[in-house]
């Protein structure tokens, strides 16, 4: 089958002369125009999304390891059973992925809302403040990871030297088993709060002023106006911010890899599902197992997205 096949029945437009190939094609294209215009997008989706996903799903059902071209056997759901019963690496990684996303997201939305409210009304030097706030957003996550890694170095890092100046003993930051995840969450918050600010600010500026003014006339204070008027009106925007940032936070990889390396540190202290799957593929060459982790991870993301979208629909009503 070919896209350029002549049409099965060419329309007889001019009697006597058979239609040329150009007319043939144009008639065919006219009849199939909706497919023709959609074709690039469909090929794109097919090659870059459907095929890799299907291939990953296929790999997850085999015992592929070492090389993806080496002979592998179909083993059904064995990889999924192995992964789901792995309490040493998989479940802690799920826990870390969830706590990383949850805590980072909560901090980003609360902080983002506070900053957006501060920037809402025009003030002097507004432009400069906005540029300064957006700076972390334009940095490459790997570079951000490397920078904070230097700052948080336990012996020669800037953070501990600063603490020393005010008499606080050096902290382990990234090197501590209990503190590493918190420190990476801090980096994520530092880098991505600006994005939340941008979204929320856009939402705030499009709000109508009238309800707020009416409440003010009725004598409502700032907190009452925020919690009873602004926040409910902003809810759909807040959920959009949570949705976008949440998916991104779930699949964070670069900051974690740049600061703690393969395996998320010696105790896997920052090993999220992404870092775990990467290690399984690139360090252990266990493609079947890694694919199973990725498929499960994909399902978690789809599930979360679905839940949030439902929430957004409810908020819009």
């Amino acid at each position: 089958m070919s896209v350029l096949n002549p049409p099965r029945s060419a329309p007889a437009r001019s009697a006597g002369r058979p239609p040329g190939p150009r007319a043939n094609f144009s008639a065919w294209a006219n009849r199939h125009r909706k497919w023709l215009f959609a074709a690039p997008a469909m090929i794109f989706v097919g090659v870059l999304i459907v095929f890799p996903l299907a291939w990953t799903l296929f790999l997850s059902l085999t015992d592929s390891q070492g090389s993806v071209r080496a002979a592998s056997e179909f083993i059904g759901l064995q990889n999924y059973i192995t992964v789901l019963s792995d309490v040493d690496r998989f479940w802690p990684a799920v826990g870390r992925t969830m706590s990383f996303t949850g805590v980072a997201l909560a901090c980003e939305v609360v902080l983002g809302m506070c900053i957006a409210l501060l920037l809402w009304r025009p003030f002097r030097g507004e432009k400069w403040v906005r540029v300064a706030i957006l700076l972390p957003l334009v940095a490459t996550p790997v570079a951000v990871g490397m920078m904070w890694r230097l700052i948080f170095d336990p012996n020669i890092g800037f953070a501990n030297q600063l603490l020393g100046l005010i008499g606080i003993p050096a902290q382990p930051w990234l090197s501590g088993q209990d503190t590493a995840l918190g420190t990476t969450i801090f980096m994520d918050v530092w880098q991505w709060t600006p994005m939340v600010v941008l979204i929320l600010l856009a939402g705030l500026t499009s709000l109508s002023e009238e309800p707020d003014e009416a409440a003010r006339m009725d004598g409502a204070n700032a907190f009452q106006r925020f919690f009873y008027i602004t926040l409910p009106l902003m809810l759909p925007t807040v959920i959009v911010a949570i949705l976008l940032r949440g998916i991104d936070a779930l699949k964070t990889f670069d900051i974690l890899y740049a600061t703690k390396g393969k395996g998320g540190g010696s105790f896997h202290e920052v090993e999220t599902l992404n870092v775990y799957a990467y290690g399984l593929s690139f360090d252990y060459n266990q493609y079947g197992l890694s694919s199973a982790v990725l498929i499960l991870f994909f399902m978690i993301i789809i599930g979360t997205m679905w839940l949030l979208t439902m929430r957004k629909k409810a908020a819009n009503k």
Binding site: H32, W35, G46, G66, R69, A170, S266
Partner: protein, 431 residues
């Protein structure tokens, strides 16, 4: 009709992408498509810097063009995983780590058989290569790579601190510990000892301690031996040195750049590391202690001084390359006696016996380092990590007790647990 069209388009898309993959995989090893351009992938390394500068010479004499890709160690490894896995012929010559990836690559058939090529040219002289390195680049009796850099673990120390404390250069592990203790006590802000601490990163440097205490990763029958008495003592000793006399707030993620930074910032008295990294400590641009660094052979443990002596990097030809003869020409030139001598003079310990025998080969080395290298080459062990296919996973397992020891956990229990895991791992690899 509508539904069928969607299916048809999807089928085309899938067939297209499958086709692309197949094209990548179908390239054979014949020289039918030999090209005048040799595509070389190298790691960021002192050796690479030297060879890069000399490439115009090769291009002039051979008439070939070299297309160079240079990557960091981890990126290089990931590139190979992706490209070689897909059967890509985009790489002709590849710089690889024989002990890390050699077995896996050879098993997967990524490396071309060079056996007939290495013995064809008597003047290039394959017999000149040291035995250990040759063994590491040979798989199932076939030569699959040519070693370019060798490494041994040596002791880096600070002459000034030792002199101030009135101490001799330690010759045994006991003396090393006593000296580290004395210096840490005398100068609290300076660590007595520093070394790699990352679970996986530390394994290679810990290996020399393991051998010197009389242990190894596996026993003669190939069974896991990391909970032997010798191994437990070695774990306790290595981790104990760092825990008791190491830098304050020591992290358990240090590989050589971090550990080297502590030493070259003047914050540690002793440091055990690969000799091939010595320039980082002696170069005034990189090191605050460049003029006070001394080198010595690894102190002797109960089983003597047994550092590893290994080829850390080699050159190989991609089996899927259609330009294998020209790829070999590049390797032959890059590993010639002249080039090896030039590289060795620039600070890269090479694998050729003739270059080591030549006084010019060691003329640029600090005298004490040259002596330490020659002593280590004599009693060195040919591996610095478990000799398995999935080295990454094995390193994580055998490295566990090192970290336990550094953090003050129960070392014998950690070694026993790691031993069970390692044995299970070895069993699955044999299947």
């Amino acid at each position: 009709m509508k539904r069928r069209s969607i299916m048809q388009y999807a089928a085309v898309a899938a067939a297209l992408s499958l086709g692309l993959t197949a094209c990548g995989g179908a390239s054979g090893s014949s020289d039918a498509k030999a090209s005048g351009t040799v595509r070389v992938t190298l790691a960021n390394h002192v050796w690479t810097e030297g060879i890069k500068a000399a490439i115009p010479e090769f291009e002039k004499s051979s008439g070939l063009k070299v297309e160079l890709t240079q990557l960091g160690e981890d990126q290089l490894s990931d590139q190979y995983n992706v490209k070689l896995n897909a059967g890509s012929d985009e790489i002709d010559v590849m710089m690889y780590r024989p002990l890390q990836e050699g077995k896996a690559f050879a098993k997967n058939g990524y490396l071309a058989d060079l056996t007939s090529k290495v013995s064809a040219d008597a003047s290039w002289d394959w017999k000149d290569y040291q035995e250990g390195p040759v063994k590491a680049t040979t798989a199932d009796g076939k030569v699959v790579g040519v070693p370019i850099i060798t490494e041994r673990e040596v002791l880096y120390y600070r002459k000034d601190l030792l002199q101030a404390a009135g101490l001799e250069v330690p010759k045994t592990m006991e003396e090393l510990e006593a000296a580290a203790k004395a210096i840490k006590a005398a100068t609290p802000d300076t660590a007595g000892f520093v070394a790699r601490t990352g679970k996986s990163a530390a394994v290679t440097q810990f290996s020399s301690f393991l051998y010197s205490f009389g242990g190894d990763f596996t026993d003669a029958s190939g069974k896991s031996a990391i909970n032997s008495d010798a191994a437990k003592k070695a774990y306790e000793y290595y981790g104990g040195l760092i825990k008791n006399y190491g830098p304050a707030n020591v992290s358990t993620d240090m590989s050589w750049p971090e550990a080297m930074a502590i030493f070259t910032q003047g914050k540690a008295a002793f440091y055990t590391e690969a000799d091939s990294l010595y320039k980082n400590a002696t170069d005034p641009a990189k090191s605050k202690v460049s003029d006070t660094v001394g080198f010595a052979a690894l102190p002797a443990g109960p089983a003597g001084s047994k550092p590893y002596n290994i080829p850390s990097w080699g050159l190989a030809v991609n089996q899927a390359s259609s330009n294998q003869d020209n790829a070999w020409k590049f390797i032959q030139w890059a590993t010639s006696k002249e080039r090896t001598l030039a590289a060795q003079k620039a600070g890269v310990p090479g694998p050729r016996s003739s270059v080591w025998a030549d006084p010019a080969g060691t003329s640029t080395y600090p005298k004490d380092l040259a002596e330490a290298i020659s002593a280590s080459a004599k009693n060195g062990v040919g591996h610095d990590r478990p000799e398995v296919i999935t080295v990454g996973k094995a390193r994580e397992i055998v490295g566990g007790p090192i970290v336990s020891s550094i953090t003050g956990a129960d070392v014998p229990a950690a070694a026993d647990a790691a031993n069970d895991d390692f044995q299970k791992f070895l069993d699955t690899e044999k299947k």
